[in-house]
């Protein structure tokens, strides 16, 4: 699974929480800038909510069918690790 394809239709919403400036969220921010356009391009109708708040731990939530939510912690991870974590989350 990669970001250059449409995700499974079971995936209903992605929510990325991170800090605007915090060092712990640096990888997540980098992930957003590099991958968000691609995700949006292949999944134009999937909400990818980016919700920033200062000092908040970086996390990503995925909501699947019937309101099932899963999330992973992304604090202090590099952009690459963030990517692999997100891929496993979305694939699960």
């Amino acid at each position: 699974m990669s970001f250059s394809k449409a995700f499974s239709p079971a995936l209903r919403e992605i929510r990325i929480l991170c800090s605007q400036t915090g060092a712990a969220s640096a990888g997540t921010r980098q992930f957003i800038t590099s991958k968000y356009p691609a995700i949006k391009q292949h999944n134009p109708d999937l909400p990818v909510l980016i919700r920033e708040a200062s000092g908040t731990p970086a996390r990503v939530f995925a909501r699947f069918e019937m309101g099932v939510e899963k999330h992973v912690e992304l604090d202090n991870l590099s952009a690459k690790d963030v990517e692999s974590k997100v891929v496993t989350l979305l694939g699960s």
Partner: protein
Amino acid sequence: MLRIVASASRPSSVSLLSVAHRRNLSSTSARQADITLTVDGKEVTVPQGSALIQACEAAGSPIPRFCYHDRLAIAGNCRMCLVEVARSPKPVASCAAPAMPGAVVFTNTPLVHEAREGVMEFLLSNHPLDCPICDQGGECDLQDQSIRYGSDRTRFHEIAGKRAVSNKDLGPIVKTSMNRCIQCTRCVRFANEVAGVEDLGTTGRGNDLQIGMYVEKMMDSELSGNVIDLCPVGALTSKPYAMQARPWELKTTESVDVLDALGSNIRVDSRGVQVMRVQPRTNDNVNEEWISDKTRYAYDGLRFQRLTTPLIKGPDNRFVTASWPDALAAIAAGLNQTGAKGNEIKAIAGHLADTETLVVLKDLINRLGSDNLASDLEGKYGNAPPVHGIDVRSNYSFNSTIAGVESADAILLVGTNPRHEAAVLNSRIRKSWLHTDLVVGMVGTRADTTYGFEHLGEDAKALEKFLSGKVKGEFAERWAQAKRPLIMVGSSMAEHADGEAVFGMLARYVAATGERIVREDWNGFNVLQRVASRPALYETGFVPSRAATSTTPKFIFLLNADEVDPASIPADAFVVYQGHHGDRGAALADVCLPGCAYTEKSSTWVNTEGRSQLGRAAVPPPGAAREDWKIVRALSEVLGVDLPYEDLVGVRDRMWAISPSLVRWDGLEGTSLEVAKAGLGSLMSNFYQTDVVSRASVTMAQCTRAFVTREKTSLEGLGKEPLQAHA
């Protein structure tokens, strides 16, 4: 004191732009070095240019005053603030005198006491002794200060009796009793500077000075209620509140207004179970200390047309009162009977839905397998995801912040009339327009804004023409040079056929101008929301999915949705309405659930900037009405859906997991530059992929990649993908 606005009469035409630089005799001076002076033997340091009264306040010496007000121009005509300054032969009016370095000021000497007593004697000589029947009683500056500074007897006897002044008719809000007026002219200054009603003024002089419009005229302003707070005596009082209560009977509750999307800070005064009045609370970041008349006077609507018990529509189409368990069971039965599955279960959120309930309802609908989370936008626009998207907060928020409007040097209004959508914000623009060189341009329906603007056209074409630089004129010139240009898009653009084009156009323009409009220290792209619930709706992701848009709903849950188009509700659908007023939404419903109005629940509201604020319950809900999120939570239990929270703390934990800024009350979380840019990028409508066919097309996807996102993908990858797709 009327000089200030005299050079800038009420503008409604273009030509006034050209006098922008001489709107005011004085403009706000740059902040200068601090100076030090001595007040009552205490050294105090204040910025140069402060009034003496501010220095005295800073030193902790209270100065009585009637005419002086922090947010208005200085008049210096009540003389109540006299203080003694060393080496000055006479007492000095401290509001009109600048604080000078090294000055030695006394506020508590026999000379000062005598001067204040004299002033008070003059004021009272013509003031009627009707305190027992005056509405200002108990919160009257004249009453309070005469107790403290006045004399116990008067030496002044007028044979003809006290001065009599005829009352003025200022409309349905401001009640006048002009005999009580002490000519402080606060109302005149407010009307001229802040509200933009330049008809209110003074006539005559000395003892004959009168406040009024000269000709009989109403005070046509949506901020007129503020003169009642400003009036230090009972000359201007509130008509709806007349003879209703005394201030010492009232319980005050600090809360937040929800009748527009500004989130003005209010104080709800209640007696027993009734809201008696609503007053502003100072918050310099939001509403300063003004509120609009709708905020202030709509509260009597909280007493009428209320839903007080659950209602179930009987077979003869009449509502029958029911108990809570019956009503919830009826909903469960209705859901079963319609057989609604997946996106056929629809929720529509209205204007006054609070954040907690939105979160709980979204979880409930999601867990029922549906993504059909609509809102009551104009027409059918609420049934589809909003054109500005909700991925990035800065795409639907007022990013420059409300206070930041004052630092803008050019404002472009697109499809909005801030005077009606956010009256208090409009007064900020007027303030800035009066005191700085601000220029305003408008695309959209021409409106009376209380400041001068250049009308650039009515439609998207006019906007395109302006953005492409084909418009000549003073505004275009000044816009091009502006350091802090501000674009304000009305939320109604998301409910307009041209909405997508307008947002796309603006996003491309912002990107093309590079650092000019969106940069690290300034985000000049703003969406002005006009409905209290919408920012929270978008923040929590309460929007329908694309697939849900085309589904015909069988079960509809209306949460405070009263602006919904009845034609959009299928006749055979089972409709539940939850809200506090029996209006359009309740009329459509099969089951009505009575909820709380904003003065009856402690809930979170997100304003147009994205600032979340906590409203507090001032009075209990009427009858069997319950707090809204609890109703949805109870319903989930009846429907057999397990929601992972049982108390308010749990709901707020959930809000924290959705967006941490929702529970950072009163704070403002900005959007970082990269994310804001990514958000704007998603607004640029993509020529190659606009419908289902072109989105499914691999070739169009490649074109998008090459020409729109300009991704550097290897050519091999490009070649392989279509093959895989065909295989």
